[in-house]
Symmetry: C2
Subunit: 341 residues, 2 copies
């Protein structure tokens, strides 16, 4: 592989000039530029990214840490990730997928991270990924609320989860439902903590007692119960325990489909017997389902875009003011899975 000196020699210019031709940091005369480019093409030369990074101290890559221990995306993650990649590429940045917790097992953090900043998805309480970023002085943005003991504030982009869950509860309660079942995300995720609090709050506001069968948390992704959690809980609560639940709130589309199946197996119908609401579901899936499922549009793409923009501000790629904690709008999309009783 040709290097800068080879080009400099053949083009009869200095290294610095070749560097300038490529980086455009200083003007170069037309003729020289031509000559250098011509030689570069001949030698198939491109500047070495690593050598460049060593001096500029920029890798032009951002990390994207995916959920703790998760090797499973749902539609929300997918759309989010796509938006991040696209938006980052717009500023010339590449995206490095990270799974710090998993890697720590094999490769105990034996070198610095080759990234300029990071987007941390779905933080958990005392998220070690965040501690690591903090320690490594890597600028980062979280998507979701940070709940780490030693970190009092961090840049973040998020939905208003308190408002989300309370408005869903109000929506269902207004339709006459008083016995709700909430299939929440995994209990370690900060979002689930906020939503549980919101759920309890909403129940409280309507003088409805919160019973144990009303709130459930998704099992850890590594467990066997993960895949059919929605199915299992629905069968258990409505079937075995015979609780008179009339509406179920499912955390994501996968859980919702699983619940739908359980309801069918119990000989019940949606929405006639049971109403079903999905918090974060893929739009096209919600529509294709039968019946179509009412859901909350969390705008995952917008979350992705804004988190990258916020990070770019922290990296000084973008100038000007930008809120450190941005809230992305969400709204209820009514479809056919919730009925009035």
């Amino acid at each position: 592989m040709a290097k800068i000196d080879d080009v400099a020699r053949l083009a009869k210019v200095s290294k610095g000039t070749v560097s300038n031709v490529f980086s455009q940091k200083r003007p170069t005369s037309k003729e020289v530029t031509e000559r250098v480019m011509s030689v570069s093409r001949k030698l198939n030369y491109v500047p070495n990214h690593i050598a460049r990074s060593l001096v500029t101290k920029k890798t032009m890559a951002i990390g994207l840490t995916i959920p703790h221990g998760s090797f499973f995306f749902n539609a929300f993650h997918t759309q989010f990730i796509n938006a991040v990649i696209l938006e980052a590429s717009y500023y010339g940045y590449r995206v490095l997928l990270d799974m710090i917790p998993l890697q720590k097992v094999k490769t105990p953090f034996l070198s610095s991270y080759p990234i300029d900043g990071a987007v941390v998805m779905s933080p958990t309480t005392d998220d070690e990924r965040i501690d690591l970023m903090h320690l490594g002085q890597i600028p980062f943005v979280t998507v979701g609320k940070v709940m780490n003991a030693n970190i009092d504030h961090a840049a973040s982009v998020d939905n208003d989860n308190m408002k989300i869950i309370t408005s869903i509860c109000n929506y269902l309660i207004d339709k006459g439902h008083r016995n709700l079942m909430f299939l929440n995300a995994n209990e370690l995720m900060t979002v689930s903590i906020v939503r549980t609090a919101g759920f309890i709050q909403a129940m409280h506001d309507h003088q409805i007692e919160v019973e144990p069968h009303m709130i459930h948390h998704k099992p850890a992704i590594l467990s066997n119960e993960y895949m059919d959690y929605g199915y299992a809980e629905t069968i258990r609560v409505l079937g075995k325990l015979k609780k008179q639940v009339t509406a179920i709130i499912a955390d994501d589309d996968r859980t919702a489909f699983s619940v739908l199946n359980a309801i069918k197996d119990l000989g019940l119908r949606v929405p006639e017997d049971i109403s079903l609401f999905v918090i974060c579901g893929d739009l096209s899936m919600m529509v294709q389902s039968n019946p179509s499922l009412s859901s909350m549009d969390l705008q995952p793409s917008e979350l992705g875009i804004q988190s990258v923009r916020l990070l770019m501000h922290k990296l000084d790629v973008l100038k000007g003011d930008f809120p450190e904690n941005k809230i992305i709008d969400s709204k209820i999309i009514e479809r056919d899975s919730c009925s009035t009783i």
Copy 2:
């Protein structure tokens, strides 16, 4: 950020020794190791990844190029990507998500790629990503058949797509279907070319004439028709053109759901009036659907794992023989969406 000299000075050893403590390339005495690590912890020192890469000429990252211009994954991609990340991390490698075609617009290839190798997903005919890899001398593995004019063979992992489509056709034909409709992937993808050929072959083998309404290709991802392609084609062919199609083969789960909807809107039922077969669908989605959908299990995780292993062989991280072109098994999973007529 502390550097190696700082540690060396405080630990009263030389740079080289500190380097050896971290890289383990040469043994170091117990005491010295302790002293160096202690000082490193105190200074919060970790070797600079970039500087290390500059000399070792390894970035410990592999690229993963996602489908041409695609900012939309389906379940197949998701599972594949997850497997790649996990398997790569097993060898200490990180994964850099790539979208060369899109980036080329903004950042015309002005530096070398900071990756040691790459996995190229879903190649197209004359895929420029592959040409670029070839040119840049970057070891790569494709997932799918390569059809580039100037490249006669490349390392790859793939399903046997010819066998896949012919066995699906035979399966349906055995059930009495003779008027099939095949909703294929985008026509640029090499996989769609192989499958179209296979489809025609299978029809030919059963003396069934291939009519124009039988084969369709998914529109480009950027087009408006992308999202409801399955719906639109089904309505058009079965509704408007009144073709007596009795079985539909859908390329992926999204298309399948979309088709399912169209069938419902046409007042028809699956599988009583129309049979539906999905080529690559997320297992849990196929099961949750009503009726559950018969599909082909392509083993996306296995494809991901094996493509990384093949790449690791090319990078000499793994030693020993490994087939340059590995075929991953696939098999029909019968569910409730296909009936005999």
